[in-house]
C-alpha cells in the first residue's frame, strides 16, 4: 500500500512536469496544426536563462523566473517569425513545419554546446528551496514537487482564464476552430499566432526553470520533452485540458509500469500505448474530431 501510494505520488510529480511542457505543444498545435518540435529547445533555453539570471546576474528567484519566461517567449516568437512565417505565407504542408521545427531544435541544442561560455557541461541551480522532503508517515514528497505542482496549477488556471474570459482568448479560440474563417471575420490571425507562440514560449520558460531547479540544466533537455509530446498526443493534440490530463496519466502509467511490470520496458510501453491510442481514438482522449466534408 505504501509502495502504491508512493508510486502514485511519483507519478503525479512526473506528470506535472510533463504537463507544463505539453501545454506548449498543445497551444501551438491548436492554432497551427503541427507538432512544434522546437519547443524542447526553447524549454532548454528557459532552463539556461534562469540559471544564468540566478548565478551570473544574481537576480532574486521570482525576478529570474519571470525574466527567463519572458526571454523564452521572445525566443519562441523569434523562431516563429524566422522559421515558420515564411512557410505559413507559402501555405506549405505541415511536414515542412515539422522539419523546420526539427532543424530549429538541432540548431538550438548545438548552439548551446558550441558557445564556449556555455558548452556541453551540465549546470546545477543554486539551492533555493531546501531539498529536504516532507514526510507523511512512510511516504515522502519533495518540497520542489509541491511547489511545482502549485506553480503549474496556478499558471494553467491563469491560462484557462485568459483563453476563456478575455477578448484575445476568445479570438484564439475562434482561430483554433477555423483559421480562415476567423481571418475573414476580422481577426488578425498573424497577431494571434504571435500571441500563441509567446504564450507557448512563456510556458516553456516556466517549465525550463522549474525543470532545471528540480533536476539539472544541460543541452539535451529537449530529449525529455519528447515524452511530454507523447503526453499531449495522449490527451489530444490541441486540447489544453487534454494536455494536462494526458501528462498526468502518462506520468502515472510510467511509474506503475516501472513499479509493477518492468522498468526495462517502460518507454516501450509508453510508445505502444501511443500507437494504441492513435489507432483507437486518433484525436486523443479530449481532442476535437473533425469529419471530412466532401
Amino acid at each position: 500500500m505504501v509502495q502504491f501510494l508512493q508510486q502514485l505520488i511519483n507519478g503525479l510529480s512526473i506528470g506535472s512536469v510533463y504537463a507544463l511542457m505539453a501545454v506548449g505543444y498543445s497551444l501551438v498545435y491548436s492554432i497551427m496544426n503541427f507538432s512544434n518540435f522546437a519547443h524542447g529547445g526553447v524549454i532548454m533555453f528557459g532552463a539556461y536563462f534562469g540559471f544564468f539570471f540566478l548565478t551570473l546576474f544574481h537576480f532574486s528567484f521570482p525576478v529570474a523566473f519571470v525574466s527567463a519566461a519572458l526571454c523564452t517567449a521572445l525566443l519562441a516568437v523569434l523562431i516563429e517569425r524566422t522559421a515558420y512565417k515564411p512557410l505559413r505565407e507559402r501555405k506549405a504542408p505541415f511536414l515542412y513545419f515539422i522539419i523546420c521545427a526539427m532543424g530549429a531544435s538541432i540548431f538550438l541544442e548545438n548552439l548551446v554546446i558550441a558557445i564556449p561560455a556555455i558548452g556541453p557541461t551540465f549546470r546545477t541551480y543554486p539551492e533555493i528551496f531546501s531539498k529536504e522532503p516532507f514526510h507523511l508517515g512512510l511516504l515522502t514528497i519533495g518540497r520542489l514537487d509541491v511547489l511545482m505542482f502549485i506553480i503549474s496549477a496556478v499558471c494553467l488556471a491563469l491560462l484557462v482564464y485568459f483563453i476563456d474570459y478575455t477578448k484575445v482568448g476568445k479570438a484564439i479560440q475562434a482561430t483554433s476552430y477555423n483559421i480562415k474563417a476567423s481571418a475573414l471575420m476580422g481577426i488578425n490571425t498573424d497577431h494571434i499566432i504571435i500571441i500563441i507562440f509567446a504564450l507557448g514560449g512563456l510556458f516553456a520558460g516556466i517549465a525550463g526553470v522549474l525543470f532545471g531547479m528540480k533536476y539539472t540544466v544541460y543541452p539535451q533537455i529537449g530529449m525529455i520533452t519528447n515524452k511530454s509530446f507523447i503526453a499531449a498526443v495522449f490527451g489530444g493534440l490541441g486540447s489544453l485540458p487534454g494536455a494536462v490530463i494526458g501528462s498526468i496519466l502518462l506520468g502515472i502509467i510510467e511509474t506503475f509500469t516501472s513499479g509493477y511490470i518492468s522498468s526495462q520496458y517502460r518507454d516501450l510501453i509508453a510508445f505502444v500505448l501511443l500507437i494504441g491510442i492513435l489507432v483507437v481514438r486518433p484525436s486523443g482522449l479530449m481532442g476535437k474530431t473533425t469529419e471530412d466534408k466532401a
Partner: protein, 389 residues
C-alpha cells in the same frame, strides 16, 4: 526556369567541392609529411558525451604542444587532427576513413565510445593504422570471437573487469550480501557493467535483489528507486554517467534510501560533487586511478593552467594514450603506421593510470589494477588498489 538552373548548378558545384576535398588534400599535404607526424583523434565533440570528448582532445593537443616544445618525437613535430563522432558509430567510420586515407595519420587516439571503437576495426585493418581507444571498455573493442583485432588497442580496463572489481569489492571487502542494480538499458557501457557485476556478485554468494532499468535521457528515477527501496538492498550499483548518477542519488536519498551506492568510471567528475555532494557521500567508485596520487598532480595543474577547467577522467586516459603512442613511435624508430602498430603490441610503460603492459593476445593493458575511491565530504578519497580474485 532560372531557379531550376541555379539549383542544378548549385548541386554540381557541391558535388565538385566534395570531389575536390576528396582528391586535392592528399596531394597538398604529401610534401610536408616528412617533418611532422600526424596523429588522428576522434571522439564526441557534440552530443551527450561532449564534455569528455572536448577534455580529451584538449589534453591531447596540450601534450603535443609540450612535446613539440621539447623537440618533438624522432626530431619531428607532432600534429593532432581531430574530428567529432557525436558518439555515433557511423560517424566514427567516416572519421576513421578520413583520418587514414586523407589526413594520412600514423595512428589514432580515441574514440571514447565502445560502439565507435568497434565499428572502425575493419577500416583500421584496411589502412593498417593503429587505434588506441581511451575509455572504450567493451571487451569486443579489441577481441572478437577469441581473435585479437590487429590494429585496435586501448589504455583502459574492460567492462568484465570493472564489473568484477565492483562486485568483488562489494562482496569481499565491504561484505555486502544484497545488491540492487539500476542501469541504462539503452547504453552499451551501462548494460555491460550491470551484466558483469551481476555475474560476479552472484558467484561470490551475494544476491541481486532487484534489477531496474531506465533509458538514457531520463531524469526521474523515483519509480525504480521506490521499488529498490522496498527490496531493501545493502548496496545499489549504478553503472552509468555522472549526470544520471547525481540525479538518481539525490532522488534515492530523498526517498529515504540509506543503502551504499557504488559505481564505475562514469562517475568521477566535479559536476557530481556540486550537484549531489551529500547524496553520494560514502559511495564507492571503481576508477582508473587515484586522483590524489602525487604523480598525477602535475598533469592536473598544467591542464588547469592552460584551459582554466578541471581535468576530467578522459584527460588522464588521453594522457596515457599519448604516452603509449609516443613510446611506440620511438621504439618503431620511424614514422610508419604498421611498425608503430607492431611496437604498440609490446608496450610496457608507466602512465598516470598505472602500469600499461599490453597483452599480445588481448591488446588490453594487462594486470592493470583498479583504484577504489570513496567519496567523503565531496572529496575523492583513495581506498586501495584492487583486483578481484
Amino acid at each position: 526556369m532560372s531557379k531550376k538552373i541555379t539549383a542544378i548548378l548549385l548541386t554540381c558545384i557541391m558535388i565538385i567541392t566534395i570531389g575536390m576535398t576528396g582528391c586535392a588534400k592528399p596531394a597538398d599535404t604529401a610534401p610536408t609529411a616528412s617533418d611532422t607526424i600526424k596523429v588522428g583523434w576522434m571522439g564526441s565533440l557534440t552530443g551527450d558525451q561532449a564534455v569528455w570528448g572536448q577534455c580529451e582532445f584538449n589534453t591531447v593537443k596540450m601534450l603535443f604542444e609540450e612535446i613539440n616544445a621539447k623537440g618533438g618525437v624522432l626530431g619531428k613535430q607532432l600534429e593532432a587532427i581531430g574530428y567529432d563522432t557525436k558518439g555515433d558509430p557511423q560517424e566514427a567510420v567516416n572519421v576513421a576513413k578520413r583520418l587514414t586515407s586523407q589526413d594520412k595519420v600514423v595512428a589514432i587516439i580515441g574514440p571514447n565510445a565502445s560502439g565507435s571503437a568497434i565499428s572502425i576495426a575493419s577500416t583500421l585493418e584496411q589502412a593498417k593504422v593503429a587505434d588506441i581507444a581511451t575509455v572504450a571498455t567493451n571487451p569486443k573493442v579489441t577481441v572478437l570471437d577469441g581473435k585479437v583485432k590487429p590494429y585496435n588497442f586501448r589504455v583502459c580496463f574492460i567492462d568484465p573487469y570493472q564489473g568484477a572489481v565492483a562486485a568483488g569489492y562489494a562482496a569481499d571487502v565491504l561484505k555486502f550480501k544484497n545488491a540492487a542494480i539500476l542501469y541504462d538499458v539503452a547504453d552499451d557501457y551501462s548494460q555491460g557493467l550491470a551484466e558483469y557485476f551481476e555475474k560476479t556478485f552472484i558467484e561470490k554468494g551475494g544476491a541481486i535483489v532487484v534489477k531496474e532499468g531506465f533509458k538514457g535521457g531520463d531524469v526521474d528515477f523515483r519509480p525504480q528507486l521506490s521499488k529498490i527501496k522496498a527490496a531493501n538492498p545493502d548496496v545499489i550499483f549504478m553503472p552509468y554517467f555522472f549526470k544520471e548518477v547525481a540525479l538518481s542519488a539525490n532522488q534515492a536519498r530523498e526517498l529515504g534510501i540509506t543503502a551504499a551506492l557504488m559505481g564505475g568510471d562514469g562517475w568521477p567528475s566535479d559536476q557530481l560533487i556540486t550537484m549531489a555532494k551529500d547524496a553520494v557521500n560514502g559511495s564507492y567508485i571503481v576508477n582508473h586511478l587515484d586522483f590524489d596520487d602525487p604523480e598525477v598532480q602535475d598533469l592536473k595543474t598544467r591542464y588547469k593552467a592552460k584551459y582554466n577547467q578541471d581535468l576530467e577522467l578522459n584527460g588522464f586516459l588521453g594522457n596515457d594514450a599519448v604516452l603509449m603512442l609516443v613510446d611506440a613511435i620511438q621504439r618503431a624508430g620511424e614514422v610508419d603506421s604498421e611498425k608503430i602498430a607492431k611496437a604498440l603490441e609490446t608496450t610496457d610503460i608507466k602512465g598516470v593510470t598505472g602500469t600499461i603492459k599490453i597483452g599480445k593476445d588481448t591488446h588490453n593493458p594487462e594486470g592493470k589494477e583498479a583504484a577504489i575511491i570513496k567519496l567523503v565530504d565531496g572529496k575523492y578519497v583513495f581506498q586501495q588498489k584492487y583486483s578481484p580474485k
